[in-house]
């Protein structure tokens, strides 16, 4: 399979950017706070290395299966990031906020239905069923993730649930990238897939450019510190503990909802 100089340039840039992002996550100690996100960055680095060697020493078919196997992991990790963010926003005290639980389930159901509908409508000009399945599957994943992020944002603002700075930046980046991916996949479906199709190559480069911009955005935003918290004195902690004891019933009530 022939890759152009531009393709190798994109590979190099994404590889170095993801290494940079991993460094930021390590240096700012964000790996524990965002395990799925960190895993995605690690997968991207590993994928570049693996695909390079498969490209050099493997066959076209082995490259195809390796690429799409890793793409499935990538999508699963992105869904993991959606869960990670939802967890941070909608579980402020360790249990899902009871007033949004129903709306959240409804939102997920609607997102899956709409994404399924869009991918069903797509009829990619593909040569094999595998290409068709992959195109539809990628469209489904991109549509689902972009919907989930937008609806999460809407629900959290309606319910007045706050977003931390880093959580918001990860969500914005992934949400924007997913929206671009929906357009790209729509284009793939319309124009056809395969490197012999010029539109396919052009759209792929657009996607990679969007991805490069997204990773750069994350690296810069996550490098910045969130608003520093202040240390409570022992006296403050004692007083706060007293107030919390007074609302202890409410806290138990919040936690017991987990069992419902």
């Amino acid at each position: 399979m022939h890759l152009t100089g531009l393709d190798f340039f994109f590979w190099a840039v994404t590889f170095l950017e993801n290494l940079g992002l991993l460094f930021v996550l390590w240096y700012r100690r964000l790996g524990k706070s965002f395990p799925f996100f960190t895993a995605l960055a690690m997968l991207c680095v590993m994928r570049t290395i693996v695909l390079y060697f498969v490209l050099r020493y493997g066959t076209r078919q082995s490259y195809f299966y390796t690429y799409w196997s890793l793409a499935i992991f990538d999508t699963l990790l992105q869904l993991g990031i959606v869960y990670e963010i939802a967890s941070r926003v909608f579980r402020p005290v360790g249990v899902w906020a009871r007033d949004v639980r129903g709306s959240f389930i409804w939102m997920v159901g609607l997102s899956v239905t709409v994404a399924l509908g869009l991918s069903w409508l797509a009829s990619p000009a593909a040569r094999t069923w595998a290409e068709s399945f992959v195109t539809k599957g990628t469209l489904f994943a991109a549509a689902l993730i972009s919907e989930l992020f937008v609806l999460m944002m809407a629900l959290s603002i309606s319910a007045r649930l706050p977003w931390g700075t880093h959580v918001a930046k990860i969500a914005q980046g992934l949400g924007a990238y997913s929206l671009v991916s929906v357009l790209i996949e729509a284009g793939h479906s319309y124009f056809g897939v395969g490197r012999e199709v010029r539109a396919f190559v052009f759209l792929s480069h657009i996607r990679i450019t969007a991805y490069v911009a997204c990773v750069a955005y994350w690296a810069v935003m996550l490098w910045r510190k969130e608003q520093p918290s202040l240390e409570m004195t022992q006296e403050m902690r004692q007083k706060l503990f007293t107030i919390q004891r007074r609302v202890e019933y409410d806290l138990e009530d919040l936690r017991s909802r987990k069992k419902l």
Binding site: A122, V150, M153, I157, S189, M232, I243, L254
Partner: protein, 184 residues
Amino acid sequence: MHNLYFLSAIGIFIAALLSIAGYYYVRGRQSPQMTWEELIKELTWVDRNAIEQVALDLVDESGAAKGAGDAANLEPAQLWKLIGGLKGLEVLETNSEVLIDLAFYLQQWYPEALVIAERLRLDARELKWHVARLKAAVQTGNLQTSFPFYAQRAVVTYYLMTRRLLDLYQAVDFSMLAKLQEAL
């Protein structure tokens, strides 16, 4: 033709998502840059003595419901006058959102205050629910019968929110407490 449907669906999908995102982004862009003083100014004045009188008719100072012997004594007409009718409740509803912002303002600096902030957020949802019931009662012509029940509970919720917020500020940031007491 099939491709036309597909491309139309994609166009509608993208437009809908961008519209929803834009609307909620504008709606949500507020508190982080607001100073504490700006938040205080957002509070609308309410007669705290009237609020206290209505609330303590139903619950004691800790928020526990009064026993059967101490049953609510205020008449519906008195409740209406003290609360200020549906408009008065709408003011409480608006103020409750500011109370949440004040709690979250403090929580940005002291993350341990999260439990109180979350409790206030849920209290505000409960208050809104009571007000929504009354607005529905207006549509069905049942406001007069529904008002005493839902309005008094809404006021109790608001009263307890103010108590919790004042306790929180007293515990954590005494310097802001005086201004907050004055505003509430």
